[in-house]
Symmetry: C2
Amino acid sequence: MWQQNKLTELFGTSLPIVQAPMAGAAGLELAVAVSEAGGLGSLACAPLDAGQLAQLLEAASQATSKPLNFNFFCHQPPGENKIQDQLWLDKQAPYFDELDLPAPTELSAGVIQPFDEARCEVLEVRPPAVVSFHFGLPSSELVARVKATGAKLISSATTVEEARELVARGCDAVIAQGFEAGGHRGMFLTDDPATQIGGISLIPRIIDAIDVPVIAAGGIADARTVTAALMLGAAGVQIGTAFLFTKEATISRIYRQQLLASNNISTALTNVFSGRPTRCLVNRMMQETGPVTNDAPAFPKGFAVTAPLRTHAEAKGCPDFSAHYCGQSAALAQPATAVEFMHDLVVGTNEHLNKMAALSLPLSGP
Amino acid sequence: MWQQNKLTELFGTSLPIVQAPMAGAAGLELAVAVSEAGGLGSLACAPLDAGQLAQLLEAASQATSKPLNFNFFCHQPPGENKIQDQLWLDKQAPYFDELDLPAPTELSAGVIQPFDEARCEVLEVRPPAVVSFHFGLPSSELVARVKATGAKLISSATTVEEARELVARGCDAVIAQGFEAGGHRGMFLTDDPATQIGGISLIPRIIDAIDVPVIAAGGIADARTVTAALMLGAAGVQIGTAFLFTKEATISRIYRQQLLASNNISTALTNVFSGRPTRCLVNRMMQETGPVTNDAPAFPKGFAVTAPLRTHAEAKGCPDFSAHYCGQSAALAQPATAVEFMHDLVVGTNEHLNKMAALSLPLSGP
């Protein structure tokens, strides 16, 4: 039975389906709906300080008794680099002129902070079922403290080497993040987007290399893609973009419109929005400034430029400066509620497995 | 039964497995072995003139009565561009100095020619079972003449738009070439490698868009990946890199050594070897000159530089200048004969389907 395996045992869920953490796009309502439907809802905590994190943990515990995943970043905080930062500010200045907006005078790191001791202390007070990291893992001391809470530990790998490193450092399961995935690449032992690997290759290669359950991510959006991930050997899937099509997703109207038109809009990896490679719907800023450039500032300083541009432009219905995160399978997704989507996915996967079972020959042949 | 469907009916084969055409790496011996084993062997004809093509057709008809696929390019022949060509020659000159080789004084288009009337006439004399094209299709007049021979017509799509165009222009089946694939991207309605799509996303999206059988290509190398392609809806698969591991592959010793070490060598799309994006094992020339650069000459003029560099360097055991075409699943492949590989793939796929069938619930649940 595909719905129950080592991964669901680990998480305490009834389905091996993880809703991807998506800052600004997936809040408590979506995560709780997913977990109540048997999956693992996720909460993106990178933009929260320790106090806000404590509030979210409290609110989550009141909203559901089901397992939830709290996700944190562990990027290296950007150092001072005034020359590179000023070059980037100069390069983007014409956009601020065009929108008649005051340009920032420096690139602040903003609210997105790596996981640290203060946040760890908050987790220790009220440990969630699962803690996931992106961009590798925090220090061994913090990893040990998170694991000591009883929370299960997961993180994303974009290469076989990264998967091995995550297991060596204590991960209970590994997300194999295929090239198709929307949002930021979890890469942490490489910084070269050119060598990133598609799911059909990455998933079995990682499965062959490690001994913990593998969660397939990237391009998973319907019953066919879930079934394919299972065939490749994945124990479960992590789904992002398809959840952006749900009623519960907290995205702007223009982002939703862009997703609905995504059959006709390409996506690409770009570092112009944040400083790190992330997959987004191609727009003007990506085309004019990237999509990948060596001039981009250190993550997450890029947001100091793109956040004000985006807010101002979106208010006028313009997507030119928005990081509209989107995977390569958006065209397979449909508007629905989270519960409808989960239900259709489970029923559909089961039907698809049954249909395909008929394709197999008895083991005696051929 | 997965082995028999509309695609095998179309090709007259007993298995829906196509060996990818690979110029210089896969000759008549490999193609015949694959076709005799029930698949569709392919012959890369882009480097052959009409006389050589006639000889190959003759030799093939003597070697097997099974269906074979003859593959041609249909790129736009490069125009004159002396300034761009000279810049490229100047940029590569230090490599010739280093190897103590005379540098070419111009970029000739060399032997790789697009499909034309002369080649079409040869096909009309002795039509193969299948004719495949790369980089789109030739003129409508030539397409009509090829189809009039009775040969089935296929070509590669890297986007949904390209798949629709291929069907509209008469293709009997379409190869969905995922981002993972080794060798040249078949792209012909886009020239932007940044928006190319991974197989998990591309295959179902193309299947939803067209009404002819879809052949999955890119990262298919073992039973798991074949089964995943079937789950995504593909009628069959095209396999390239895994066939390079067979005894019959006509590749240099150093290319074979590189493939065997490919677990530890990344691949990337690059246009520095030929002028068009192609996936190769990362080497010095890709790192120093690309992997993708706007300065690259028009395809196939790049070979005028890389062919002499490669020949000279490989003779010394050096892979620095070689286009070692390789997909992202090389690590899943094993040395074998073509017949052993085909046998293991078919038995393995069937076993895997049987195993996975046990995961499905009865249709009444859940």
